[in-house]
């Protein structure tokens, strides 16, 4: 009797491949075959777009501006002066001018810059109250020389000026600003200013003594006509008094201030055909009544003006009516984020709840790679969802909003940064949620944790009663810093304003903010992998 030989069973099937790609494929299969998760992803995209469109409509039915009458329909769109780049600008100042035909230059000595500030009686828009003034100077009160493409508001210009607190500046086309000599101007220390035109190029010089000149800056004004307007100007921005900025509301009052510059030793070279000075106020400005005048005696000019020559920086409730930025159209990001946080957390916690995690880890014992594969899958799925949602919200929202509200124009590069940045933000938050879910292994705890560190800081910084200094730190340190990637309107240092998170201004540059979130996600993922390796599943 011969013992039967037993051959061990060998499957005929070819051995399955392993490797990271297979792992990603396995996780992708899990993701796409759970109906609830797909529905959650779809909901994320839909609510993000829907709320964006809602924000786009948000000012249509009866938008009233300040204490003006309620208007409706197309006329709601506020009428902003637009600068050469299409950006909204303020262009109000008192202009003592002569035509300048072709090349030439103008030199002047400034011996004094003084001003008047309104006395704020906290009467908040009581029109019956007479304007009362006290001596004082706005930090960005300006007086100096300007060469401008006509007297129309929003036309191209280049100017060199003395300012209240910021020394000599050379500014052009509203957004450009270059510092010159520091220090305040007075009779004891006057400032000499010179502006020369050569073709389309305007160059500004300053000097403390009238003999040693330094070039401060130069600007090219494309399409400057042969005959431009040039001369002296003075202006002083709106004076804002804020009681306290609680809850993101600007509970303040705004009234005009004035600046007076005293000029002498006016020297002209080149072709100045008119031979005499004309004084007029540029712009009528619903915000600053055309305050301004000039006096000329024995070669001495005293020019007083009110207003500003600068970009408009106000946020959502800027002067003149409903103004929105592209960031407003992406407000639905929050709803989308919450939906995707739920999906991403469940992507791992559901495995724990059903016990599937043991099968997963038996099939792929290298646990770090499992979590990495999950992160790749949920990150890419969220990125695509976010990209579709953000692009849809912005593209359609802009169409909806265009006829109803004024959208701050931004360059296509900024628009692209905001849309792609939002998608990246959503993807990284999803990875963060996955990591949090892997750490706490419970759905409710994971979801709450991530919402608490992503959405609540934004809520606290922007809606709740925190002062701006605290809000600034919150959007620097917490994962909510990433919302900086949605900032649409740049903060201009040459415009005095409250650049707070509530107004849509973040302390960090866009990509740096996103990087803070990436840091949090990397930290959480590392901790999650460490815990996954260390603990029994």
């Amino acid at each position: 009797m011969t013992a039967p030989t037993m051959t061990p069973y060998r499957s005929d099937a070819p051995p399955g491949r392993d490797g990271f790609a297979q792992l990603v494929r396995a996780e992708w299969t899990k993701f796409r075959t759970v109906r609830g998760w797909l529905i959650g992803t779809l909901i994320a995209a839909l609510v993000t777009m829907g709320l964006g469109w809602f924000a786009g409509v948000g000012g249509s039915s009866s938008c009233s501006t300040g204490n003006g009458p309620a208007r409706s329909g197309r006329s709601c769109a506020p009428t902003f002066t637009q600068g050469p780049g299409g950006e909204p600008v303020t262009d109000n100042f008192y202009f003592v001018r002569q035509p300048l035909a072709g090349n030439g230059s103008i030199t002047v000595r400034v011996t004094s810059l003084t001003g008047q500030l309104p006395i704020m009686n906290n009467h908040l828009g009581n029109p019956n109250q007479q304007e009362q003034f006290r001596p004082g100077l706005q930090p960005w009160a300006k007086a100096g020389l300007i060469i401008k493409d006509g007297t129309a508001q929003g036309s191209a210009y280049a100017a060199i000026m003395v300012t209240g607190d910021h020394g000599v500046r050379f500014q052009s086309d509203y957004t450009q600003d270059t510092p010159g000599l520091p220090g305040a101007v007075s009779a004891a220390s006057p400032r000499w200013l010179r502006l020369t035109r050569s073709g389309d190029t305007i160059t500004g010089y300053d000097s403390a003594d009238g003999t040693h000149w330094t070039q401060v800056g130069s600007a090219r004004l494309n399409g400057l006509p042969k005959v431009a307007e040039a001369g002296l100007f003075a202006t002083s921005p709106i004076y804002q008094s804020f009681t306290e900025n609680f809850g993101g509301g600007s509970s303040g009052s705004e009234e005009p201030s004035t600046a007076t510059g005293v000029f002498d030793q006016v020297g002209l070279s080149g072709s100045w055909p008119a031979g005499a000075w004309t004084g007029s106020y540029v712009g009528s400005g619903d915000y600053s009544p055309g305050i301004g005048s000039y006096r000329q005696s024995q070669g001495r000019f005293t020019v007083t003006g009110s207003g500003d020559i600068a970009p408009v920086v106000s946020g959502p409730s800027g002067p003149g009516g409903p103004v929105i930025t592209i960031a407003n159209l992406l407000i639905g990001t929050f709803a989308g984020l919450i939906a995707l946080i739920v999906v991403a957390t469940l992507f791992i916690t559901a495995e724990y709840r059903r016990g599937l995690i043991r099968t997963t880890l038996a099939a792929s014992p290298r646990r770090g790679r499992v979590l990495a594969a999950k992160a790749v899958v949920i990150g890419s799925a969220s990125f695509v969802t976010g990209l579709v949602a953000a692009a849809g919200a912005v593209a359609v929202g802009e169409q909806i909003a265009r006829s109803r509200q004024f959208i701050f124009p931004v360059s296509w590069a900024t628009e692209l940064r905001i849309v792609v940045g939002t998608a990246a933000l959503i993807a990284v938050v999803a990875v963060l949620a996955l990591a949090a879910g892997a750490m706490v292994r419970r759905s409710a705890a994971g979801v709450t944790l991530v919402i608490a560190i992503v959405v609540l800081p934004y809520f606290l910084a922007i809606i709740a009663a925190l002062p701006d200094s605290v809000a600034d730190w919150i959007v620097r340190l917490t994962p909510a810093a990433a919302f900086a990637v949605q900032q649409a309107v740049p903060a201009y240092p040459q415009v005095e304003a409250i650049y707070s998170p509530a107004g849509g201004y973040y302390p960090l540059p866009p990509w740096a903010g996103l990087l803070v979130l990436c840091g949090w996600a990397a930290l959480a993922l590392t901790a999650a992998i460490w815990l996954l390796r260390r603990r029994d599943a």
Binding site: P316, N328, I462
Partner: protein, 259 residues
């Protein structure tokens, strides 16, 4: 019903989670309130348009998130462990089960809420005078003897209980803890965030009138009542309607569906 109440009380009492969460409600609410109060100052000579009562109760806006989690877990934990089938086998009258859960949960939250709100107001009373909010400056010392402060404090406690009921109802409807927490926190925080960017004044107002959190927290206002989107008690009524609606739908689904 007493048996059902006793059963639910035993369930909550004998696991560690609810106790921790209730402790978190109290500490988080009081801590956030204290930090907010600490961060605000009214410099001498400045005009500060601050509702100090509301400021001292800021922590409720964060503490409510923990209340929501606790309330969601009360029912969704039963679904995730399968305990719900035992519960319903023992007490076949499903409406009674939900009512018992709501009663036990809301009394616990009310108790925790009293501590949380008292802690917040105490922090405000101790810190605010040192930050320029003095009686000489026009800010009376926070005291529950002031009718409006008492209304804000009692209302905040009720607010937390109503948030718990809204969360319980939502969790009964969706039966999954993660989804329920997502929905409740979304409902609470999205209204103020979206209203913030809607420029149209009347839309903004309507959003704040229907949002469970924006309407409900009107109960905390003691100054500037005219500029509120909704009057204090009506606001709390809106939140109560949300909670009642969620519980009603949840109760109905609990009866109609298999567990």
């Amino acid at each position: 019903m007493p048996a059902a109440l006793h059963a639910e009380w035993t369930k909550l009492r004998t696991v560690a989670g609810p106790a921790w969460l209730l402790a978190a409600v109290v500490t988080l609410t009081a801590a956030v309130s204290a930090l907010t109060v600490q961060a605000n100052r009214c410099p001498a000579g400045a005009v500060c348009a601050v509702d100090t009562t509301r400021l001292s109760l800021t922590g409720v806006q964060i503490g409510q998130a923990v209340v929501a989690v606790l309330a969601v877990l009360v029912i969704s934990n039963e679904y995730s462990t399968g305990m719900i089938r035992v519960t319903l086998a023992a007490m076949p009258r499903r409406a009674v089960v939900l009512a018992a859960k709501a009663a036990v949960l809301s009394s616990l939250v009310l108790a925790a809420g009293v501590l949380a709100v008292a802690g917040s107001l105490l922090a405000g009373r101790l810190i605010l005078p040192g930050h320029g909010f003095t009686p000489a400056h026009g800010f009376a010392l926070l005291s529950p003897a002031t009718p409006s402060v008492l209304r804000a404090a009692a209302g905040s406690v009720l607010y937390l209980a109503l948030i718990a009921l809204l969360s319980l109802g939502t969790a009964t409807i969706v039966r999954d803890s993660a989804v329920a927490v997502g929905i409740v926190l979304g409902l609470l925080y999205l209204f103020p965030i979206v209203a913030n960017v809607v420029g149209n004044a009347s839309w903004h107002r309507h959003l704040e009138q229907i949002g469970p959190m924006t309407a409900g927290l009107a109960i905390q206002a003691t100054t500037g009542l005219r500029s509120l989107p909704i009057s204090p008690w009506a606001g709390l009524g809106v939140l109560a309607a949300w909670a009642a609606g969620a519980l009603l739908v949840g109760g109905l689904l609990l009866r109609l569906r298999d567990a």
